[in-house]
């Protein structure tokens, strides 16, 4: 694990309870720049809650979150995004009435601090649109750029979700079950995209699909009932008896 000063994302002592229900217990995590970390755990372990705590949609009871050394635990979610923390959602969170390309272009416009302009109808929108198109092409969905999101098959919507997060040029990217619910023939496209993500971004991926995790992650953190059970290289986790027990003895790989 890297030291706090060079981490892309550094979490110390994160705690959160709802009355008697503890959803995060003294969580300590470091993501180095370019990290590929997988977060696994049974349902209800608190994985998505953790992401919500990181992104600011949930306030922790205690703990610090440092993004490239700067504390962000008191910042509103939209400010954290502007600092370089992006996420995808477990359930697609898209602008369904807009076309695919505009979903990305709007994010780019926001990133470029162009989206607040009230009066000027500048040609920068075209630039945002072009950059969006290029990004969609990288992800292999440029051909549906003009289609309305609600017409898109589920797998392509998941890809769009990732594309929007990437368009923000984040330092840290949190992927919440990117391939969940996607039919097998479309899932491989998502796996391809995951493999080709920019190497300077630190990525934390929540997944249930063990194949994806083991192919993608260099380090795995196992969460159970809100606390970190264990962490380590994939090979080590695969044979860890505690982890196996957690997954009811099922073979992990």
């Amino acid at each position: 694990m890297s030291e706090t000063s060079t981490s892309a994302l550094s979490v110390r002592g994160l705690n959160k309870s709802f009355g008697a229900l503890v959803v995060a217990q003294d969580i300590n995590i470091d993501l180095a720049p370019g990290a590929r970390v997988g977060l696994i755990g049974p349902n209800g372990a608190g994985k998505t809650t953790f992401v919500n705590l990181l992104t600011g949609f949930l306030k922790p009871d205690s703990g610090t979150i440092l993004l490239e050394g700067a504390p962000i635990q008191d910042m509103k979610p939209e400010m954290r995004v502007r600092r370089g923390l992006a996420r995808t959602h477990q359930i697609n969170t898209l602008l369904r009435e807009d076309i695919v390309r505009d979903n990305v272009a709007i994010a780019i416009a926001e990133r470029e601090n162009y989206a607040w302009r009230m009066m000027r109808y500048t040609p920068q929108w075209r630039r945002c649109s072009e950059e969006a198109h290029a990004l969609l092409r990288d992800m292999g969905i440029a051909d549906v750029g003009d289609r309305q999101v609600r017409e898109l098959p589920y797998g392509q919507q998941r890809l769009l979700e990732i594309a929007i997060a990437l368009s923000l040029k984040p330092r840290v990217l949190l992927l919440d079950e990117p391939a969940a619910g996607v039919p097998a023939e479309e899932a491989h496209r998502i796996h391809d995209v995951l493999a080709r993500l920019p190497s300077d971004i630190a990525i934390l991926i929540i997944e249930h699909d063990m194949e994806v995790i083991f192919r993608f992650a260099k380090e795995i953190i196992v969460l159970l009932q809100g606390r970190v059970l264990t962490r380590g290289a994939p090979a080590k986790i695969a044979v860890d008896p505690e982890v196996r027990a957690v997954y009811l003895g099922r073979t992990v790989v």
Binding site: T55, I106, R126
Partner: protein
């Protein structure tokens, strides 16, 4: 239902013929308004009142239609603007332009303050807060007879000539042109606003606030901005009302007024700006004509129209054109071999 403001591609690929048609479509309401001035004779004041309600409904379109802020308290800004203009003319000076500016500022500030207090909430809680806001202001207006005249209304307004030359008189010509110009100015502002990047981000907020926050949009600030602008615009409509009728009544602050302007907008169609034109005109004319038969018949009709619009015509009456075209298209396709 109209999607978000069109991207460049749609505009550039439009054929010259359809562009001319759209230009005519844009010019039409203004040509009608100008033409009405010359042919109306004694009914000019009806046109003035319709334009006041159009402006009011258009301000609601910004907030409700484009930004998705579901409020029933918008009459608060309309009424406050009217009272501000009225009180300015009684206590300060009778110049209507200065009074108008005063009213716009007052209602805009009220919009920003009330918005800042409540815009972090959503859903029914927010709706309730808007109801509470307009009720507080209404009841205060009712109480403060010394200021507002209570339920007798504000008496004794003196409305001076515009720019010192154009007098208000019983023929209502000055009032009509005054309202038309104000409406046109606000229309231009609204048009630029909704087509701008800011307007686009509002549309995103309407569709999915969570998504917008996830791309770094300062949602609360954007909503506050449009809420304040719309409040100022509603206050402007209120000022027009005060100046054109030289009277301000409590009803301008009432929940019923909020309901009426909402009905107008929904009837005409949200997110089209022109929906406000159609809705306000139709509502006003229906009310005016059925009031002769029975004063309550129009309320019944409007309620029915509202129910029917929600159930069948989600885009308002302006949707009839689109539905008609889709209907015809279905016939054409079935003709194909």
């Amino acid at each position: 239902m109209m999607a978000a403001p069109s991207t460049d591609t749609a505009a550039t690929t439009a054929s010259p013929a359809s562009r001319v048609l759209s230009l005519i479509g844009h010019a039409l309401p203004w040509l009608i308004a100008i033409g009405f001035y010359f042919v109306a004779g004694g009914s000019l004041s009806i046109g003035t009142q319709i334009m006041i309600w159009i402006l009011f409904a258009m301000s609601l379109d910004l907030v409700l239609g484009y930004a998705g802020i579901v409020t029933l308290g918008h009459a608060a800004f309309f009424g406050v603007g009217a009272y501000a203009a009225g009180l300015f003319s009684i206590h300060f000076m009778s110049d209507p332009i200065l009074g108008h500016i005063f009213a716009v500022v007052v209602s805009g500030v009220l919009g920003v303050i009330s918005g800042a207090l409540i815009l972090h909430t959503t859903g029914v809680t927010f709706l309730m807060l808007t109801l509470a806001t307009v009720s507080i202001i209404y009841e205060y207006g009712n109480q403060a007879r010394w200021l507002t005249g209570g339920d007798d209304g504000l008496q004794g307004m003196k409305v001076g000539p515009i720019f010192g030359t154009f007098e208000f008189n019983i023929f209502g010509q000055t009032a009509y042109v005054y309202a038309l110009v104000v409406l046109f100015i606000w229309f231009l502002i609204s048009w630029r606003l909704v087509k701008s990047p800011f307007g686009r981000s509002l549309d995103g907020i309407r569709q999915n606030p969570r998504r917008m926050r996830a791309i770094g949009t300062p949602v609360w600030w954007r909503l506050l901005a449009i809420y304040g602008i719309a409040a100022a615009m509603a206050g402007s409509a209120g000022a027009l009302l005060a100046h054109s009728t030289r009277f301000v009544g409590l009803s301008s602050l009432s929940l019923l007024t909020s309901g009426i302007v909402t009905v107008m907008l929904i009837l005409g169609g949200t997110r089209k700006l022109y929906g406000a034109f159609i809705g306000a005109a139709i509502y006003y004319l229906v009310q005016d004509s059925t009031a002769k038969f029975s004063p309550y018949f129009w309320e019944f009709i409007v309620g029915g129209m509202l129910i029917a619009t929600v159930l069948f015509l989600e885009g308002g009456l302006m949707d009839l054109g689109r539905i008609g075209r889709r209907f015809l298209a279905r016939f054409q396709r079935s003709d194909a071999p």
